[in-house]
Symmetry: C2
DNA sequence: TATTGTTATACTCTATAACTATA
DNA sequence: TATAGTTATAGAGTATAACAATA
């Protein structure tokens, strides 16, 4: 049962992380951003609050310097802004500007629309089942990986 | 319903394509291979027949030169072998050697074992549902992307 | 002395361009 | 002249190492 699934799961993952899909959604926002930059924007947008650089890195599952670089680029374009963290002078909080928030929103709308198109022909029951099972799979996988990292 | 799912799907994709999971499975095979090399091996293994370089590239969704490079490396390590294609003198068929086949097998066993561990606590019905829905999602996504590429 | 973030550098994966050989 | 593959080069994404400032 699994053996046929694995190649398709690989293809799906590729489409999401590296493929044409995010590229198209980025184009549709009208902003010429690279994918890591968009990921930073989305991370801030779904956090719905300013985050520290380290926190963004954790959520993106990358290291700090990677985030620093993209935050710097995004700040130059006026999409995010670094502000002081009142609780710790070493840290800086990164927050979305108005246009940064708009860009994240436009990207999400585009992507959701696309996915909705893919699922349009599905029975409602299957759509719900997919969301439930896929969500659980993602959570369980993350939990198992975290457990492995305790070694 | 989708909005909570997307970040988790991203995390899952990352774990599969770039994360610690494939890395661990590679270590477990005892071979010091890079990930693209393993993907070539897996592609040949699940094809269960020699493939041309171009065909491998199509199935991996990458370009030709990428495959050439990794086939060359794998050949030096004795894991694959280039043989003549009787039907076309320009093309070469790439086939797994005995140890290449063993390596792919060991990798798959390890990965399947790991996934089985993640799904161990799931009700059988949910496991089947996941395989069915995820398979369909992968297929439908690929079909929609192909349709988009007709522009 | 530990932690937050930054700068500088290097590595992995993949693409594009230019070329060779056969069709 | 088109196609299969190769070689050489370039680019995107991310990591590691060394450092600065604050805790």
């Amino acid at each position: 049962m699994l053996s046929g699934l694995l190649p398709r799961l690989n293809r799906l993952s590729r489409a999401i992380t590296r493929g044409r899909l995010p590229e198209r959604a980025i184009e549709a926002t009208g902003l010429s951003l690279d994918r890591p930059g968009v990921t930073v924007l989305l991370t801030l947008h779904s956090a719905d609050a300013p985050l520290r650089v380290g926190e963004i890195a954790d959520r993106m599952q990358v290291v700090g310097p990677h985030v620093t670089r993209h935050v710097t680029a995004l700040e130059k374009r006026g999409l995010v802004r670094r502000v002081a963290d009142p609780s710790d002078q070493r840290a800086r909080l990164v927050e979305l500007t108005g246009s940064g928030s708009e860009a994240a929103d436009a990207y999400k709308r585009n992507l959701f629309g696309w996915i909705a198109g893919v699922l349009a022909d599905w029975p409602a029951q299957d759509r719900e089942g997919l969301a439930r099972l896929l969500g659980r799979l993602a959570d369980d996988t993350a939990a198992h990986l975290d457990a492995l990292d305790q070694d």
